[in-house]
Symmetry: C2
């Protein structure tokens, strides 16, 4: 029994199953792929593959379907990433160039990716931590309620309402704004934390508490916040592949709404040498995604922000991986260096 042929058989099974959605038998296999041996031989190979846990039979007399482990081997060793067509590349470029807003860029990107793959696409807001502070604004909305806005040179704009703990007038707030801005304009977001105490301590004691609250608000804005959000498109594709999620797509939709879970999942996925990370079925830490696979990659300056696709384990990995990688590259280019 030759080892290379066995892998070839696995490849054929995965490809046929992804295409037909039906368990594939030994006879159909020799017909569709010219393997040069008889179906009986294939049966032996399949028995071996089943012993190794790479494929399984839904019932005694049906064909075989790949297991999670089988898909994993396929993705890691057998498949070749299938490049996008020129038309597709042109479409991506044209669509992305028409965008203005950052929100708009991400929105278009994720729609494009979901259309290319016929799956659910998600993209995380990009990290922009090397930015420096361009402007700070405090807006008194109601007594003690102040809107804090932070604008960075990269175009990042963050906002948040905080309670300053004491009643201050419009002019006092404006003065604080000027004071903060004078001391902080131009410094990088990462050094903000160390600069804030000095700014606060030079405020008159009567307004110290408010300044402290404002400083805390700024710090929060600089670090967390927007990177924790994501944009999503193509959930309707889940329903179309009704067959793929035998039980129900409910758990998958739940997982998609739990953005925290999804973000952790994307961050934890390790990229392989080809620059794409794949998490298959029960490899996913979240139970609701036991029958789903995620294909993701990083984008942007440090590749820290993630973009990816989610679909049934029975997915066309080569094409999906290619699409994710290509879209991530275009997105990185659009967002600049």
């Amino acid at each position: 029994m030759s080892e290379p042929r066995k892998l070839e058989v696995l490849r054929a099974i995965v490809e046929d199953y992804v295409h037909s959605r039906e368990p594939v038998g030994s006879k159909a296999l020799v017909e569709r792929h010219h393997l040069g041996v008889s179906s009986a031989t294939i049966r032996n190979d399949m028995a071996a593959l089943e012993d190794e846990g790479l494929i399984t039979a839904p019932h005694t007399s049906a064909g075989r379907i790949p297991t999670d482990k089988g898909y994993r081997l396929f993705v890691d060793q057998i498949s070749a990433v299938k490049p996008l067509s020129h038309a597709e590349r042109r479409a991506i470029q044209a669509l992305l160039e028409g965008a203005d807003d950052l929100d708009d860029v991400l929105d278009r990107t994720v729609r494009m990716l979901s259309q290319l793959t016929n799956q659910v696409a998600v993209v995380q807001y990009p990290h922009l931590s090397r930015a420096t502070i361009r402007h700070i604004e405090f807006v008194l909305l109601a007594p003690r309620q102040v809107l804090v806005v932070l604008i960075a040179t990269t175009g990042k704009v963050e906002q948040r309402v905080i309670d300053i703990g004491q009643d201050l007038g419009d002019d006092a707030i404006a003065a604080l704004r000027t004071h903060f801005l004078g001391s902080l304009a131009g410094i990088s977001l990462s050094r903000l934390t160390s600069s804030l105490p000095g700014v606060v301590s030079s405020v008159s004691p009567g307004q110290r508490a408010a300044a402290q609250a404002l400083a805390h608000g700024l710090e929060t804005l600089a670090h967390s916040s927007r990177e924790e959000r994501m944009v999503m498109a193509g959930t309707a594709n889940l329903a179309r592949s009704n067959v793929d999620f035998p039980l129900s797509i409910g758990p998958v939709l739940e997982a998609l709404e739990e953005q925290v879970v999804l973000l952790r999942l994307l961050s934890d996925m390790a990229q392989d040498p080809r620059g794409v990370a794949v998490s298959i079925g029960r490899e996913n830490p979240y139970d609701g995604l036991a029958e789903a696979s995620v294909v993701a990659t990083g984008y942007g300056p440090d590749s820290t922000a993630k973009i990816g696709v989610l679909g049934p384990t029975r997915m066309d990995y080569p094409t999906t991986m290619a699409a994710v990688r290509a879209v991530a590259r275009y997105l990185s280019r659009i967002l600049g260096p």
Copy 2:
């Protein structure tokens, strides 16, 4: 044949069907509701209701289910809005009070509403057109690419990247910023359009083109934009009620992704005297929602922004309407006058 009893029969059919998801027959009806007449009489009433197009039988020998028209009559004339429990009211209040950000408020609100109703909940960003300009910021991101940020006194922050059509240095951009801000600070967003030409014409001719582009960007920010967005939660509830959407939930998910469609739908729905608007099944202009109903209402100062719930036509209207109305009220209160 008494008219009041006929309505009572319709009410009983709707309530039983909503509860059991199964066509309801004449015998079951007299058992569960003490109507004081025999099943044969009910059969006569049901035949009349069917003639009027209020109920229908899926096949010859099954019970009846309400039609869209039947639900409409039920909602308009028969049902009484069912108030929320004290525990539910407390939960709403407690949850909303913990929020800081506007985004956070809307996020919590929509999650709460989807949990209360077990349906998909949507909320539109609030309109804040009476705001006046607090600050304007221009940030040069790349040659000719400028990020325009507009901050209003109400806490609204809008941003957009525009192409100014000519190369200008950082200092020139800063000067333009100062010029715009000096002329525009304090004026209301609605009067912005009439003030802009004057500002642009007083710019030196060499920078006139850029100023024109910036003015156009500001105008766009002031008007459109954020009100056109919405937040959504509870899509997983669609899957749970798998039975409710016999064909597939695909079209519904598509409709939910087409936010433009959804926004128009919400805006076009006319509120009834009870302060809630209901659109049932094929009453919806969008085909994908032919088997869905939308319950919505306005909130905020002018009740112009919308909040609502989407679910199968077979939904518990009295409870849902109560939940939507209550949540909208709490939301209005939190957002202030």
